[in-house]
């Protein structure tokens, strides 16, 4: 786990609400006991501030693309031919065209950085990803791709903008509901996460608007935007992508 803030307690300690009569009178110093509770509570909230990034239905039934007889890249006009040089079952980001038949994109999300325990520098949170699919037993092969990237466009994905990537495959004869995660094709236990290492690249921070004020000047915030992509390819049969989920975790 990343270092955020030292906690004196393992949970949030309830305190009197603001506006109630507190035990401190004006002029009293705040002692270390109260300070420890406040410190610990802020640390607990930071630890538990993981956000749900994606909570979405999927596209439903997905058109099968038989990559043994025709590339999924066929008919896509704006991808370089070299992108089609990979068999779809290969574990590379260029294996699918990431178009609307084979992928869904979410974001951009503004990364919330924690601190890396080794360097103390900013460290991107791990992201759990899961695809919920319903397989047709007639499907002879299927591939699933998980991608965190700074690329908004499918054309840019293979250009070194990948933060983290994982690939899973299913063979013939699989049917019913499956929970696909970066490390499993039926993850019924805790979800596994994609990890971005080693740190967020400070040069990729970009300003974004926070407030427009034509009199006093605008306010901006520096953010690290990234995209969450889910890719899928079914060789045959009537298969469904039912839902997508992604969230930050510890």
């Amino acid at each position: 786990m990343s270092v955020i803030q030292e906690r004196g307690y393992s949970k949030y300690i309830k305190h009197p609400p603001a506006g109630s009569a507190t035990p401190l009178a004006n002029g009293d110093t705040i002692d270390s006991g109260i300070a420890t509770v406040i410190d610990s509570n802020i640390g607990t909230m930071q630890t538990e501030s993981c956000r749900q990034l994606v909570f979405s239905l999927g596209p439903g039934i997905v058109t099968a693309l038989d990559y043994t007889n025709g590339s999924p890249f066929a008919g896509i006009a704006d991808l370089a031919p070299t992108d089609a040089g990979h068999a779809p079952s290969q574990s590379v980001v260029g294996a699918i065209p990431w178009d609307r038949r084979t992928a869904r994109r979410f974001g951009p999300f503004y990364a919330v950085a924690d601190r890396d325990p080794g360097t103390g520098g900013p460290c991107m949170r791990k992201v759990v990803m899961e695809m919920n699919v319903t397989m047709d037993v007639a499907c002879t092969h299927s591939d699933f791709y998980f991608l965190l990237t700074t690329a908004e466009s499918a054309r840019d994905i293979a250009d070194g903008n990948v933060l983290s990537f994982a690939h899973q495959s299913l063979g013939a004869g699989v049917s019913g509901q499956k929970f696909i995660t970066p490390a499993s094709t039926n993850q019924t236990g805790a979800g596994d996460a994609l990890t971005v290492t080693p740190t967020i690249d400070a040069s990729l921070y970009t300003p974004t608007f926070s407030r427009l004020d034509t009199t006093n000047g605008n306010a901006e915030s520096l953010v690290f935007p990234y995209w969450v992509w889910f890719g899928y390819l079914f060789q045959s049969g009537s298969n469904y992508v039912d839902s997508f989920c992604a969230f930050e975790t510890r």
């Binding site: 305190h15 002692d31 006991g33 802020i42 909230m45 538990e48 239905l57 608007f209």
Partner: protein, 375 residues
């Protein structure tokens, strides 16, 4: 904000706190920075949705629930239009905010952009291109009331062969890294209070400064940062909305999803109070019923490695009118608790409709929103 908003949380060492010694100004600055990071930088992705391919109405309407919180000035709204068979599909999009009673709220678009006010024409990317640009605009919501739930209404009007929206998102924009202009509802702690030799005094309920302010902002951060929004929206009409007509039919699979499997959604519960605590959420539905009978809506929650808990809510009838409700037929809040007992605090959420009798009406649901209800 009253304090610079850091991109990374400050790292505090408890060892510097010595019993019986007063706290130094440095601690106050770290509290201010930590709270500013939580409140101003850990902003919430309100919703991220892709629309199922079979729900490809040319001119759809969607609703997204959003609860305004202090300090947030802008929402970033992104959409990807769905191209039809035409080579240059396009249409118009109008996004507005309204209360649950349909009363319009005052908002404006940053820089006066017309992309999402219903007057500009937006193109839908061709199906033969992998490049899929997102159309993004910033909605100024500073005039909305804090704590009120609003519906962001998306209306797409086709003008040339488009098929509605492929996906859309709504995100809160973080507060300015350094902003000298404080709004009237500014959250956080004024960092000037924490200067050395300056007393951090108690404050009162009417003048909530000093320690009162610190405690108050701790409560704000606990309740709202992040305020998770787990929500699904589909086209609000009786052709494409999820609908239920049979016993134990599931609204997300019956029509038009049709997979035979009920989608599961994996989420992580926020465990503020240890592993025995739960993470409460308030359910909000937009729905319509065909008769005066009452449908039952179920939220099934299964902690990873644990057993399912069903939350059943008998809905008030709407008799042919779309309504937005957070309360059931008995006017009680529809509260769902996510357990923190699952492995890694994870659980699955599923949605069902339950028809107890044959007189249960046909019901259509266009929005399912679970919003965190930490009090």
């Amino acid at each position: 904000m009253l304090c610079p908003v850091p991109q990374t949380p400050p790292s505090t060492r408890l060892a510097r706190l010595v019993v019986n010694n007063p706290v130094s100004a440095q601690h106050g600055r770290e509290w201010a920075g930590g709270l500013a990071h939580l409140i101003g930088y850990c902003t919430t992705p309100v919703t991220e949705q892709t629309i199922i391919d079979s729900a490809s109405s040319a001119s759809p309407t969607f609703y997204v629930a959003y609860t305004k919180r202090p300090g947030i000035n802008l929402l970033r709204i992104g959409v990807e239009a769905r191209a039809g068979a035409a080579t240059a599909s396009r249409g118009r999009l109008a996004v507005t905010a309204q209360t649950s009673l349909g009363v319009a709220a005052t908002t404006s678009w940053l820089f006066g952009r017309h992309d999402m006010d219903g007057t500009g024409t937006l193109s839908a990317t061709s199906t033969v291109l992998a490049d899929r640009p997102v159309i993004t605009c910033y909605l100024d919501i500073s005039a909305l009331t804090n704590g009120t739930v609003y519906d962001l209404k998306f209306v797409w009007t086709d003008t040339a062969g488009s098929k509605g929206l492929l996906s859309f998102c709504v995100h809160e924009q973080p507060l300015g890294s350094s902003d000298p202009i404080a709004s009237s509802d500014e959250p956080g702690i004024d960092i000037n209070w924490t200067r050395a030799r300056q007393g951090l005094y108690d404050g009162t309920s009417t003048t909530p400064r000093g320690l009162q302010r610190v405690l108050g902002q701790l409560a704000v951060a606990r309740a709202q940062c992040p305020r998770q929004g787990l929500q699904l929206s589909t086209i609000e009409d009786t052709t494409y909305a999820w609908h239920v007509t049979a016993i134990n039919a599931t609204p997300t699979t019956a029509v038009p999803f049709g997979t035979g499997s009920t989608p599961k959604f994996r989420v992580r519960a926020r465990g503020l109070y240890g592993t025995a605590s739960t993470n409460p959420y308030l359910l909000r539905l937009r729905y319509q019923t065909s008769t005066t009978n009452h449908p039952v809506f179920r939220v099934a929650v299964t902690p990873v490695g644990g057993a399912v808990t069903n939350y059943d809510f008998t809905l008030a009838s709407s008799s042919g009118v779309w309504v937005a409700k957070t309360t059931d037929n008995a006017s009680a809040n529809m509260v769902v608790s996510l357990p923190t007992t699952g492995t890694n605090q994870e659980c699955w959420v599923q949605f069902y409709a339950v028809a107890a009798t044959s007189s249960t009406p046909t019901a259509w649901v266009s929005q399912i929103a679970l919003t965190e209800l930490e009090t």
